[in-house]
């Protein structure tokens, strides 16, 4: 629902909101400019009487003194029958320059508040402001849902592309945009009478004045007792009219002052309502609050980008076949829950949902993290989930188990779990198996024991559909075939070999990517080829000759390094690693990039602890290379013999020297010390503990044996902090890339 509320108004309003935002940003500059040129005397230094006295000396024909919210003082006067307006220095009343309101700002202001169309345009701008409020609120709920709660929203997002840009920008701009939109809506609503306006703050004109001889302006009591800083405006009496009065307007109120007695003849304090309205105006315009103006201007500047990325996200959702009609949890008779890391499981879930809908079921589909407290009408529950790393929950399911505790199931709800994974990993589909057990323990009936799909096999998926069709009697023909990833041509540029002497032959291979044919989109302005957009930590899938099963290697470089670098250890009997080790410079292979945005150091200046062994150093070295901001980064790495398999030795030295790497601890198993990486962590336990307490993030890359040992050590280190790896993982602070 939020998505619809967010998108459709957004699409309609986008071009106009962009106009409002850009003009708003330009207008935000004005308080900053005014402030920078204003002379501001100290509090209590000058009274309005002093100011008026010295102004009259400089400008005998002074008619009006105005102090703008940013502190500039304008004097309106008539000299030799000609009207004039000057900016003056309030301390000396000397002329700073002519006051001429900028025609450009005036035009921009009119464009901003009325699209140059007077009342009709003002009404329209007001409606847009209200729509913007709606967009902010619906957007906030979507952000919170995406981040997994309101608090995690503060930590930011992982992921990539338009969606990431949209969410991150929105996260920062939200408060500013909401403030501008709310205050704008309010101003418009009072103007058109939808909201009551507080009564005018000015008293009525006095009926009677003393009519005595006018006293010098500097001697008037009422002006003497008013500080310069509360002045808004002082209007002088019409020359030669003894019945006229001074009109004074200040922050506290407004009134009229007798020319002769210097006392207020009428005075009215500003009501609370007036002050509130004034604050609302200031919060909108930033007048007199130059820093707020700057922040609001920056927030407004995100609107064009948000509009464009928002439309693109929507478009790509549509193009990839949006979810068919999603029934609400309360009405659904069938529920599909999705646990997905990189979105590939969603394609299968969509196919299942489409087929079930066609078979007449009312289907509700959601992320596993969105498990409702009950599905009152549901009789079927399907859970489709991948597994992350070594048996952990994928991103869209990491809070499923907690939520399950609050789930109450109706009597006849039957479930079936379908796991997605890769048999090359030891704990194949472990999370799917865990979910299956947890649901059974929670008292749900199994429709079928868990089925596991290896490497996104369309055949296994449709076979599972056949079995479900049999037991449910529904007519299902599942046929989802994930689109094969586009292949990249790679040419080996050079290789460096290590570890042959210690039975751990490992090579750093560097390939030059060769772009394929340019797509239409790339010809029209898109700068980077999405095929060639990768980061250290992403994976490259490579199929050895005569084998269609891809093996994945972590990338040690990013696309802007120009080369694609991997670190591969030749495994005994390893088909793909063996093949890669035979390659000589100039050889060509094909591969495809699989983004792995989850395994990346979090942005921010918290320390990062990198832990790896053997070829696992690849992506870690890539992270260090990219650490241009010189955030604290520590590497713990284990090899066999420094004489033979010390990978990246010269590079690491270089990174230490230029402080991209803060500290390096190495462990070698075939030296006299015979140490492993976990031993070094143990030795450094107090340091490691302190860094984690400070908010450090841990990234582990390497074989599963090492990862298990490291987990044990880190859990020991964490014990005094009353936390463990599981809770770090939930915060995205313990990441593993394990093979």
């Amino acid at each position: 629902m939020w998505r619809k509320l967010h998108f459709y108004p957004g699409l309609l309003a986008a071009p106009f909101l962009i106009v409002l935002a850009i003009t708003g940003t330009i207008l935000a500059v004005s308080p900053v400019l005014e402030r920078s040129s204003a002379v501001v005397p100290a509090d209590g230094q000058i009274s309005v009487a002093q100011l008026a006295q010295s102004v009259v000396k400089q400008y005998p024909g002074a008619e009006q003194i105005k102090r703008t919210p940013s502190g500039a003082v304008i004097v309106y006067y008539t000299r030799e029958g000609k009207p004039g307006a000057d900016l003056v220095n309030p301390e000396t009343s000397e002329t700073i320059g002519l006051y001429e309101p900028s025609a450009f700002f005036r035009w921009v202001k009119d464009l901003h508040r009325s699209f140059l169309l007077d009342d009709a345009g003002r009404l329209f701008a007001g409606v847009l402001a209200a729509m913007m409020v709606l967009m902010c609120i619906s957007g906030a709920f979507m952000l919170a849902r995406r981040a997994g709660g309101w608090l995690p929203l503060l930590r930011g997002f992982r992921g990539s592309g338009d969606g990431r840009i949209h969410s991150e920008l929105a996260r920062f701009a939200l408060i500013g945009l909401l403030l501008s939109a709310l205050t704008g809506s309010y101003m418009s609503a009072t103007r058109f009478g939808l909201l009551p306006e507080p009564a005018d703050s000015e008293p009525p004109f006095p009926m009677e004045v003393s009519g005595g001889e006018p006293a010098p302006v500097g001697s008037l009591e009422a002006l003497k007792s008013t500080d310069f800083h509360s002045l808004r405006e002082l209007v002088f009496p019409y020359p030669g009219d003894p019945r006229d009065v001074f009109s004074l307007s200040t922050r506290q109120g407004a009134g009229f002052i007798d020319q002769a007695t210097g006392q207020f003849v009428e005075y009215k304090s500003a009501s609370t309502g007036n002050q509130v309205v004034e604050w609302i105006m200031r919060l909108h315009t930033g007048e007199g609050l130059w820093w707020l103006a700057l922040l609001l201007g920056l927030a407004a500047l995100t609107v064009p980008v948000l509009s464009i990325t928002g439309i693109r996200v929507w478009w790509s959702r549509r193009a990839s076949g949006d979810v068919p009609d999603n029934v609400s949890p309360a009405d659904a008779d069938t529920v599909i829950l999705i646990g997905s890391e990189g979105n590939s499981t969603r394609g299968f879930a969509r196919d299942l949902q489409a087929q079930l809908s066609r078979a007449g079921r009312c289907v509700h589909s959601a992320d596993m993290n969105e498990l409702a407290e009950a599905y009152p009408k549901a009789s079927l529950l399907f859970v489709l989930t991948s597994t992350y790393g070594d048996g952990a929950a994928p991103a869209s399911a990491n809070r499923f188990m907690e939520r399950l505790a609050h789930f109450s199931c109706s009597g006849n709800l039957k479930f079936a779990v379908l796991g997605f994974g890769d048999r090359q990993f030891p704990r194949f589909c472990q999370f799917a198996k865990d979910v299956d057990v947890a649901l059974a323990c929670h008292g749900l009936d199994r429709l079928q024991s868990p089925a596991l799909v290896d490497q996104k096999s369309p055949d296994q998926f449709s076979q599972w559909g056949g079995r479900i069709a049999e037991v449910t009697g529904l007519n299902l023909r599942l046929s989802h075939n994930p689109a094969p990833p586009p292949l990249l041509d790679l040419e080996l540029v050079d290789r460096a070999d290590f570890g042959v002497e210690v039975e751990a032959p490992t090579s750093i291979l560097r390939f030059r990517p060769r772009a394929g044919k340019k797509s239409l989109a790339q010809r029209f302005g898109k700068k980077s080829d999405p095929l060639l957009d990768f980061h250290a930590g992403d994976l490259i899938g490579i199929c050895p000759p005569e084998d269609n099963k891809p093996r994945y290697y972590s990338l040690a470089s990013s696309s802007d390094d120009g080369l694609l670098e991997i670190c591969v250890r030749r495994l005994p009997g390893g088909k793909c690693s063996g093949f890669l080790h035979t390659l000589q410079p100039g050889a060509r292979i094909q591969g495809f990039i699989q983004p792995n945005p989850e395994f990346r150091p979090a942005p921010g200046s918290q320390p990062v602890i990198l832990i790896g062994a053997g070829a696992g150093i690849g992506p870690l070295a890539g992270f260090i290379r990219k650490n241009d901001a010189r955030h604290p980064m520590y590497l713990y790495w284990g090899g066999r013999d420094p004489q033979s398999d010390f990978l990246y030795r010269p590079e690491l030295g270089c990174y230490l020297r230029d402080q991209r790497l803060t500290g390096l601890r190495t462990a070698f198993s075939r030296t006299r010390e015979s140490a492993y990486v976990q031993d070094k962590l143990n030795e450094d336990a107090p340091n490691v503990r302190q860094m984690i307490e400070m908010g450090a993030q841990v990234l582990v890359c390497g074989g599963s044996g090492m990862a298990t040992e490291v987990r044990a050590v880190i859990n020991d280190i964490l014990k005094p902090l009353k936390t463990d790896i599981e809770s770090l993982k939930k915060d995205g602070r313990y990441l593993e890339d394990v093979y």
């Binding site: 008619e63 009006q64 309106y76 008539t78 029958g81 000609k82 009207p83 307006a85 309101p101 025609a103 005036r106 009119d110 005018d200 000015e202 009525p204 004109f205 209007v235 019409y238 009219d241 006229d244 009109s247």
Partner: protein
Amino acid sequence: MKKYFVVVGFAMALVFSAAASAREVTLNTQLTNYRGDGAYLAIYLTDSNGVYQGTLWIAGRDSEYYKHLRGWARGSRMRHAEYDGLTGASITSGRTLTMTLNLDDSFIDNGYEIHVDTAVEDRRDNRSDVVVPLTSDGAGKSVSGRGYVKSFTYNF
């Protein structure tokens, strides 16, 4: 290029006294190119001492801003009955307001004055931008204002 706003004011408060002695008066107010938003104008009558007698026309629809027409605001005390039915659109920089109204003969050649107060957002307010005695001799003679009014003429 000039655009004329032609407003025909029908017999109003000032005017209703006796059908026999009313005269049709045309007022022309041309504004300077002051480069700003639409100007608010108050055209009103005073006696020879400058004491407010009645409103002829208010250009500008938002009564919130009327207080900036200072001389008029003071005289009329901004009472709604004083300007009810005598308001129109604000006048853009450089344009001319032309309006016709019926005025009792007794106001002419009797020491009465026409005043024009003007105000523009974010700019100065001009009390008595124009002050001109209402006489048979003055008819058809253009007077220049000291604020946003370039020239003011009345004819009858």
